[in-house]
């Protein structure tokens, strides 16, 4: 008897499946290779693809639960239009033709009367549909595409392009000897390029581990050094580590001399952050800062696994730039086993497909908030409050129509009450999604979106590890359509037909054409990868204005910002608002990741909800005792802006001054159309004021705020 991993042939025989399809999962921000087993026309089992270099046959719970998503009884499987008032929950089935004709008529009407900028397109984390949405918007002439890009991944792209030309990715395949995981829980979260498997394998090969996290995660517990920083002080901590590296001469002198722009002013800035000062800011003992800095700088190759937590802060762009500074000055940029500037195969890339050059300058100048958040504006990214304000106050011009494609901003953007108000007021809103979410419930028309199981596409088209993986259509559910196909159809109805295709497969052919292959040829492959070479800068420099690695950003300077990274104290904190801190004596951090969920998604999938039934706030046992809170109690978390309820979990791995709340909770099982959107939604508490955003990127500071906590029973039944 012989066993082998992922024995698809034997699975087929034993279970009597009709076929097995290799595809590419999209239950999160990235993708893993999968095998989908089919019987009687239905997908019945999903397992990892052993041949995929991203996951080597492993998978996460979300990927396994894909079939529960595809065939969920509540899933929207045909287009609907709203019958009653907004939020009435009364919907009527309509045809695709009527749905798209109605949307097209509205688009053309608003464009005629108020200009294309009055129509805002949007997506959330993106379903690999980003490029198609930008293409549609740019050809329409609206500069307003509202995404999570102001505070998720967009900042990594924008800041890395201005610093070193592209996003540096950890080269897990060549075994980094030291990995610093900064504000990231790659083993259970939704990482962008490589997944937990690659990270895990690198550790098993003996890599040293440094964790920067306010919570004791398993990664932190396994780390050689754990830096438990005060939430929101990442930039100061990075500057403190750079202070050690610079002043102990631990940097790569040749790289700095030959390839860095602005070293001297950068060193001056770093010298403003000696370890004593950094300890006072970050609550991290200076000896630990030194220890981590030395370990990172002297172990080669080393890499930083970074993530979104550092971007949802007022220091967003500088946090990203400082981590890149750490990669750069230690000589780990574009080094084998370090942090590589990978290249895609030579296809027509997302920028090309997105048709950004087709947007007229006169329209680009109208980008909402473009004059305020100029780094974001230069990367076609906008801040959400600009849109809500334009709907509610009609300034600088009215926004009349929203079209959200796989996005649930009521749950996932700061100041949820303002978001809700804006969505209630906007004249017309279309949504494409799997379910009638709290956002979709406010729409006029909702389109049934296809899951990854129901589309052909080039997976990881916009990722930076250099891989492209075929996503092959396995099933058809109801009348659901992929967002790409839907936009391709709609484009013809609004006069963009000449720039689109008869079928979307032709678009895939067009993307692949420079490689001289078609979709039909590509979909027979496991994957394609661009050429991997290291230290490319030795030959051609970095793709920046100075051709150097810009620690001193010439572009930020040109756009009127401090060209050097700095630390800004969060606007609401024990130090910037001490009086408020007396009344709200805890720092609440928001949005730690949980296995099974992807932001506001998957609460209706039984296997996933069983793993985590209720929203949970972690509290140190000492703090809980002080507040009279017991394990499992429903408690109130109250910020100066509102209050929500979550269940207490006593968690010793957190500073007693800090509590950790979950984000994006709604309750699909509730039959009313609000689905409890404001009950446990942490964005009831967050602040979206422009001043509370990163000045260059427009990232809303939602990860740290002040709060008080108390048992729900103490409210006298107010909630």
């Amino acid at each position: 008897m012989e066993f082998s991993y992922g024995n698809a042939a034997r699975e087929m025989e034993v279970y009597g499946y009709d076929s097995v399809v290799k595809s590419h999962c999209r239950m999160c921000h990235g993708g893993c290779g999968v095998l989908v087993y089919v019987k009687d026309g239905r997908a019945v089992k999903v397992t990892g693809d052993p041949d995929c270099p991203i996951n080597h046959g492993t998978l996460c719970p979300k990927g396994i639960a894909s079939i529960q998503l595809a065939y969920h009884p509540d899933r929207l499987t045909y287009p609907v239009k709203r019958r009653g008032l907004k939020g009435s929950g009364e919907w009527e089935r309509i045809s695709w033709d009527e749905a798209l004709e109605t949307i097209a008529e509205r688009i053309l009407d608003y464009k005629e009367r108020f200009g294309a900028e009055s129509i805002v397109m949007g997506y959330g984390t993106g379903r690999d549909n980003e490029a198609a949405i930008y293409r549609f918007a740019n050809l329409l002439g609206t500069p307003n595409v509202l995404t999570a890009g102001h505070f998720c991944y967009g900042p990594r792209i924008a800041t890395s392009i201005i610093t070193c030309g592209t996003n540096p990715i950890v080269d897990y395949e060549n075994a980094p000897r030291c990995i610093m995981v900064w504000g990231n829980n790659i083993v259970i979260s939704n990482p962008d390029e490589y997944k937990g498997e690659n990270f895990s394998a690198a550790l098993n090969k003996g890599a040293k581990l440094i964790a920067v996290d306010p919570r004791l995660t398993r990664i932190a517990a396994r780390a050689d050094v754990w830096l438990q920083l005060r939430p929101g002080t990442d930039a100061a901590l990075a500057l403190g580590m750079l202070h050690v590296i610079v002043n102990e001469d631990l940097y790569d002198e040749a790289f700095v001399r030959n390839h860095v722009y602005g070293w001297e002013p950068f060193v001056e800035r770093v010298n403003e952050y000696p370890p004593d000062r950094v300890e006072a800011i970050t609550w991290v003992p200076k000896e630990k800062i030194r220890q981590a800095a030395r370990l990172f700088a002297t172990t080669k190759p080393a890499a930083i696994q970074w993530g979104v937590a550092i971007e949802q802060q007022i220091n967003c762009a500088d946090n990203d730039r400082l981590l890149m500074a750490l990669m750069g000055v230690t000589g780990n940029i574009d080094a084998r086993g370090g942090q590589v500037l990978f290249q895609q195969p030579r296809i027509r890339n997302v920028g090309h497909f997105g048709a950004h050059r087709m947007l007229p300058d006169s329209q680009r100048e109208k980008r909402l908030g473009g004059d305020r958040f100029r780094l974001a504006g230069n990367f076609s990214i906008i801040n959400p409050k600009c849109v809500w304000d334009a709907i509610l106050d009609e300034k600088p011009y009215p926004v009349k129509m929203l079209f959200f494609i796989s996005s649930n901003p009521v749950m996932t953007r700061a100041n949820a009450r303002q978001v809700y108000q804006a969505l209630e007021k906007v004249e017309f809103m279309a949504v494409s999604d799997f379910f009638l979410t709290p956002t979709a419930e406010l729409a006029d028309i909702v389109l049934p979106a296809a899951t990854w199981l129901e589309m052909d596409y080039i997976g990881d088209f916009w990722k930076r590890h250099g891989y492209l993986l075929p996503r092959r259509k396995v099933i058809q559910v109801g009348e659901c359509r992929s967002d790409h196909e839907m936009l391709n159809d709609l484009a013809h109805r609004v006069g963009q037909g000449e720039h689109w295709w008869d079928t979307f497969e032709q678009a895939l052919d067009w993307i692949l054409e420079p490689l001289r292959i078609t979709w039909q040829e590509f979909q027979k492959m496991d994957y394609l990868r661009g050429e991997v070479t290291n230290q490319k800068y030795e030959v051609k420099g970095f793709s920046t204005p100075s051709r150097k690695f810009e620690l001193y950003s010439t572009l930020l300077e040109q756009w009127g910002y401090d060209p050097l990274p700095q630390f800004r104290e969060p606007l609401e904190s024990p130090y910037s608002t001490p009086e408020l801190y007396e009344r709200f004596p805890y720092i609440v951090i928001t949005g730690r990741r949980m296995p099974g969920f992807f932001h506001s998604e998957n609460r209706q999938l039984p296997w996933m909800r069983e793993l985590h039934r209720d929203p949970v706030v972690e509290i140190h046992p000492d703090a809980a005792a002080r507040e009279g809170i017991r394990e499992g109690d429903w408690i109130i978390i109250e910020s100066p802006r509102g209050r929500v309820r979550q269940r207490a979990k006593l968690f010793p791995g957190i500073d007693p001054r800090v509590v950790s709340a979950e984000h994006a909770w709604w309750f699909p099982e509730r039959n009313d159309s609000g689905h409890g959107w404001d009950e446990s939604n942490i964005n009831i508490l967050t602040d979206n004021a422009y001043e509370n955003c990163d000045p260059a990127m427009g990232a809303t500071h939602i990860r740290t705020l002040l709060c008080r906590i108390y048992p729900e029973n103490d409210t006298g039944g107010l909630l």
Binding site: V14, T58, V187, G196
Partner: protein
Amino acid sequence: MKSYELYIDEYACWGCLACEAACKQEHVPRDGIRLIKVTEEWSHTTEGSLDFSFRVHVCRHCDDAPCIEACPVEAIIRREDGIIILKEEECSGCGACIDACPYDAIAFDAEQNMAQKCNLCYQRVDQDLLPACADNVCPAHCIYFGDPEEIRQRISAGAGIAEPVQSS
């Protein structure tokens, strides 16, 4: 007859719960029944600092299985290959096995009034397929299945860890 063991290297477990989902996909037990269950564990290191890890609760198919002794209706049996099977159709629902299990690895389905536990996917094993949780689903590669002696050799050799694909 070959003997089988399911071994989980809890040090390497990240708590991602992929094994739980894989088990659900294979067996589709009732909501609330988790034949494999991962929980958080707090302790202190030898140096005295706080430690955090995961425990994986699943039937160990013990050599000296107290659940077999505890069952008054002989619904729990040991196969020659060491796999211990709880025959649900013969279960009386008394719960004695649950009390006897030192690993908190037996669940109770109140609606059907019967105990349920991991039967080590014997239906798969008998067909040369690995148990669902051990079929390379785990991103930490911390779940091992096979001959106990071979597992020990693989772990000491650092095997079972997927070799990354080399870039070229």
